[in-house]
C-alpha cells in the first residue's frame, strides 16, 4: 500500500515536471479567461479569431511581444511604451509619442480596446487588418524604426522566445506570421465593456445615473451619437471635425491614404469609451482636457473645405449642457479593463 502511495506521488511529481515550464518563461495568467467576447447588444466584430484560434499560450506570447522592446531599432521602446494600460492603452499626457533616435510622432497615440470591431486601423485608416497593424509602427522611422527581419533575428537569439513560440505554435520557428497572429490575440482580447455606462445599460443592481449624467446622456444621444455611435462610441468613419490646420504638421489625414482631396483633414472617429483617461485629445493631441474638447464643438469649429456637414456652425450647448455632457462622458471609464492583470506587462 505504501509502495502504491509513493508511486502515485512520484507519478504526480513527474507529470508536473514533464509539463511545467519555468514560471518566468511562462507566467501563469491570473485568469484562464481567454475567449472571444461579444457583449450583449453589440454588433458582430469584424475580426473573430477564425483563422487565429485563441489560446492561452498564444495570448501570453502576444502579450510578451506587445511589451517587447526588441521591435525597436535600438531596443528602447515596445508597443506598450506608447500604449499604456493604465490609460486604456493610450499614451499618458503625450501629445506625440517619442520614437527611437529622439524622434517625435505627428499624431496622438490612440487608445487600444475593442479592436476586433475596427474596420481599419490608424488615424488615417491606412491599415486594413488587425494582424498587419503592428507592422506600421515597427517600420515607421518616427516610431520603432526597425526592420521586421532584424527583430526576428533578435527574437531568435532569445531562449525565452524559443520556448514561448514552441508553447504557442508547437515548434520554435519564429516568423512574421506567427508574431502578427500572437499580437493580434493580445490586441483582440482588449475588451472594454464594463464602464458605469455599460453597467447602467445592463440594468445592474445599485447602478444608476445621476440626473446630470442622465441629462448628459440625452444630450449625447441628440448631438454626438451620429458619429460616436453606441455601443462602440464610434462609427469607424473618417470625418473632418473642424480643427484648424496646424501649419507645422500639415497632416492631410485620410487623403494621405486615398489620394482624394475630398478626404483632406479627415481622421477616423475615435471611440469615446475611456475618454476621461486618454488625454490629450484629437488626432494631434491639441486639447489637454474634456472642457476644451466640448468647447471646440460648441464654439471652435473651423470649416476648411471638408468639414463634416453635421458640425457646420458648431453644436449648440449651454454652459449647463457642457457640464452635463462631461458628466456623462465620465461614466464611460472602464476601471475593470484598466486594472485587468491579464493585460499588464508580466516582466
Amino acid at each position: 500500500m505504501r509502495l502504491l502511495f509513493y508511486s502515485i506521488v512520484v507519478v504526480i511529481c513527474c507529470q508536473f515536471i514533464s509539463c511545467s515550464v519555468d514560471p518566468k518563461i511562462k507566467p501563469i495568467l491570473p485568469s484562464n479567461d481567454i475567449r472571444e467576447i461579444i457583449p450583449e447588444g453589440w454588433p458582430q466584430p469584424v475580426y473573430t479569431f477564425q483563422d487565429n484560434q485563441l489560446s492561452q499560450d498564444k495570448f501570453i506570447l502576444g502579450r510578451e511581444l506587445f511589451y517587447e522592446e526588441m521591435f525597436s531599432k535600438d531596443n528602447s521602446i515596445s508597443c506598450g511604451s506608447c500604449h499604456q494600460g493604465f490609460v486604456a492603452f493610450a499614451n499618458a499626457e503625450h501629445r506625440f509619442s517619442h520614437g527611437v533616435d529622439g524622434s517625435l510622432g505627428k499624431r496622438n497615440a490612440p487608445a487600444l480596446f475593442n479592436m476586433n470591431w475596427n474596420t481599419s486601423f490608424m488615424w488615417d485608416g491606412g491599415i486594413l487588418h488587425i494582424e498587419n497593424q503592428p507592422l506600421g509602427p515597427i517600420a515607421n522611422p518616427i516610431e520603432m524604426h526597425e526592420d521586421i527581419n532584424n527583430a526576428i533575428t533578435k527574437l531568435q537569439a532569445s531562449n525565452k522566445y524559443k520556448q514561448l513560440f514552441t508553447l504557442a505554435f508547437g515548434d520554435d520557428l519564429i516568423n512574421t506570421q506567427r508574431i502578427l497572429k500572437a499580437i493580434a490575440q493580445f490586441q483582440g482580447m482588449l475588451y472594454s465593456y464594463n464602464s458605469k455606462y455599460d453597467q447602467y445599460k445592463r440594468g445592474e443592481q445599485d447602478v444608476s445615473f445621476s440626473s446630470q449624467e442622465q441629462n448628459g446622456y440625452l444630450l449625447f444621444q441628440q448631438k454626438c451619437n451620429s458619429c460616436h455611435r453606441e455601443p462602440l462610441f464610434t462609427n469607424f468613419e473618417f470625418k473632418n471635425n473642424g480643427l484648424s490646420i496646424d501649419p507645422t504638421i500639415q497632416d492631410s489625414g485620410r487623403a494621405h491614404i486615398t489620394g482624394d482631396p475630398l478626404d483632406k483633414y479627415k481622421f477616423k472617429t475615435p471611440s469615446l469609451r475611456n475618454i476621461a483617461l486618454t488625454t490629450p485629445y484629437m488626432h494631434d493631441g491639441r486639447f489637454s482636457n474634456l472642457d476644451q474638447v466640448i468647447e471646440h464643438y460648441a464654439s471652435g469649429i473651423v470649416d476648411n473645405g471638408t468639414l463634416d456637414p453635421n458640425l457646420s456652425g458648431g453644436i449648440s450647448l449651454s454652459a449647463q449642457d457642457k457640464a452635463d455632457l462631461k458628466a456623462f462622458l465620465l461614466t464611460l471609464t472602464d476601471y475593470t479593463f484598466i486594472n485587468d492583470d491579464r493585460f499588464k506587462d508580466p516582466n
Binding site: 509502495l3 502504491l4 508511486s7 512520484v10 507519478v11 513527474c14 507529470q15 514533464s18 509539463c19 483563422d51 487565429n52 490608424m122 491606412g126 491599415i127 486594413l128 487588418h129 488587425i130 494582424e131 498587419n132 507592422l135 506600421g136 515597427i138 517600420a139 515607421n140 521586421i148 527581419n149 526576428i152 516568423n175 512574421t176 506570421q177 508574431i179 502578427l180 497572429k181 493580434a184 494621405h256 491614404i257 489620394g259
Partner: protein, 258 residues
C-alpha cells in the same frame, strides 16, 4: 506483479503526460486522376541582354540610362488550359520572383493532371482578397519588403536603381507598383502565348515553360517614361497604374521544353 503494474502505469502516465489529444489526421481522399509536374522558369532581361544588378547602365529608347539594383515581382493565380479547353489552377499560387535570388526564379507545380497544355494565364501581383486577409506566410509573408506597412497592400512589382537622368536625391529611381482596387488598380491578368507549342505533362516528363521578362517594357508602350520627370512612385496613383499598363506585356514565352 503489483510492482510491475505500478511501474508500468507510471511510465504510461509519464509518457502520456504532455501528449495532446490524438486528433489523428485523416488521409484526404485523393481523386484517381493521374498527375505529373510542370516547371516554370523566369528569365529577367533587358531586351536581349540578361539582366544584371548594379552593373550595367541600360539605355532606354528615349536615351535615358538606368542601373538596376532591385527587380522583383509577384506572379500569382497561375492557370493552365489543356488541349480540351479544361483549366487547371495551382493551389496557393503565389510566387515572388526576385532577380537577386536565382532560386526564386524557377518553381515546380505539382499535382498537374496529365494533359497537353496549350496556354497559361497568371496575375502580375496579388489578388485583392489576399491583400486584406491578415498575416500571411511564404511568398506573401510581410517581411519580404513587398508589403506596405503604412497603407495595406502588396507591392506587386518593384524596380529600383540609379539614373543620371533622375532628379530625385542621389539620382534614385524607385518604382513600387501597387493598388488592388479602384480606378488605379495595378492588377494585371495576362496570357502570354505558347505560339503553337504545348507543355506535355506526363508521368515521365516534367515540361518546363521558360518565360522571358523584359524590364524595358516598364518604360514604353503605351506610355514612354522619362526618368527626369517620373522617377519615384511609392503610392497608388495614375502614375503607378501607367507603369502597370506598360509592364503588362513584359512577359513572353521563350520556349517550352518537354
Amino acid at each position: 506483479m503489483t510492482r510491475f503494474i505500478i511501474l508500468l502505469s507510471f511510465f504510461v502516465l509519464l509518457v502520456s503526460a504532455c501528449k495532446k489529444d490524438p486528433l489523428e489526421e485523416e488521409e484526404p481522399i485523393t481523386p484517381v486522376t493521374p498527375t505529373g509536374s510542370l516547371k516554370i522558369e523566369f528569365d529577367n532581361m533587358f531586351d536581349t541582354l540578361d539582366l544584371g544588378l548594379d552593373t550595367v547602365n541600360y539605355i532606354l529608347d528615349n536615351g535615358d540610362k538606368i542601373k538596376v539594383s532591385i527587380f522583383k515581382y509577384y506572379i500569382s493565380n497561375i492557370k493552365l488550359t489543356d488541349s480540351d479547353g479544361k483549366e487547371f489552377a495551382e493551389t496557393e499560387s503565389y510566387h515572388l520572383i526576385d532577380e537577386s535570388n536565382p532560386a526564386s526564379q524557377k518553381f515546380t507545380i505539382t499535382g498537374v493532371p496529365i494533359k497537353n497544355y496549350t496556354s497559361i494565364t497568371f496575375m502580375i501581383g496579388v489578388d485583392s482578397a489576399r491583400n486584406v486577409s491578415g498575416a500571411q506566410t511564404g511568398a506573401l509573408s510581410a517581411n519580404n519588403n513587398m508589403f506596405w506597412t503604412w497603407s495595406t497592400g502588396y507591392i506587386f512589382a518593384k524596380l529600383e536603381g540609379i539614373s543620371q537622368q533622375s532628379t530625385a536625391p542621389s539620382n534614385s529611381v524607385a518604382f513600387h507598383i501597387a493598388g488592388f482596387k479602384g480606378a488605379n488598380s495595378a492588377l494585371k491578368i495576362i496570357s502570354p502565348t505558347f505560339n503553337g507549342s504545348t507543355a506535355n505533362v506526363s508521368s515521365t516528363v516534367t515540361p518546363t515553360i521558360y518565360i522571358k521578362c523584359n524590364l524595358k517594357e516598364w518604360f514604353i508602350n503605351p506610355t514612354t517614361i522619362s526618368l527626369a520627370t517620373t522617377n519615384n512612385i511609392t503610392t497608388v496613383s495614375t502614375t503607378s497604374k501607367m507603369i502597370a499598363d506598360n509592364y503588362a506585356d513584359m512577359f513572353t514565352i521563350e520556349h517550352i521544353h518537354n
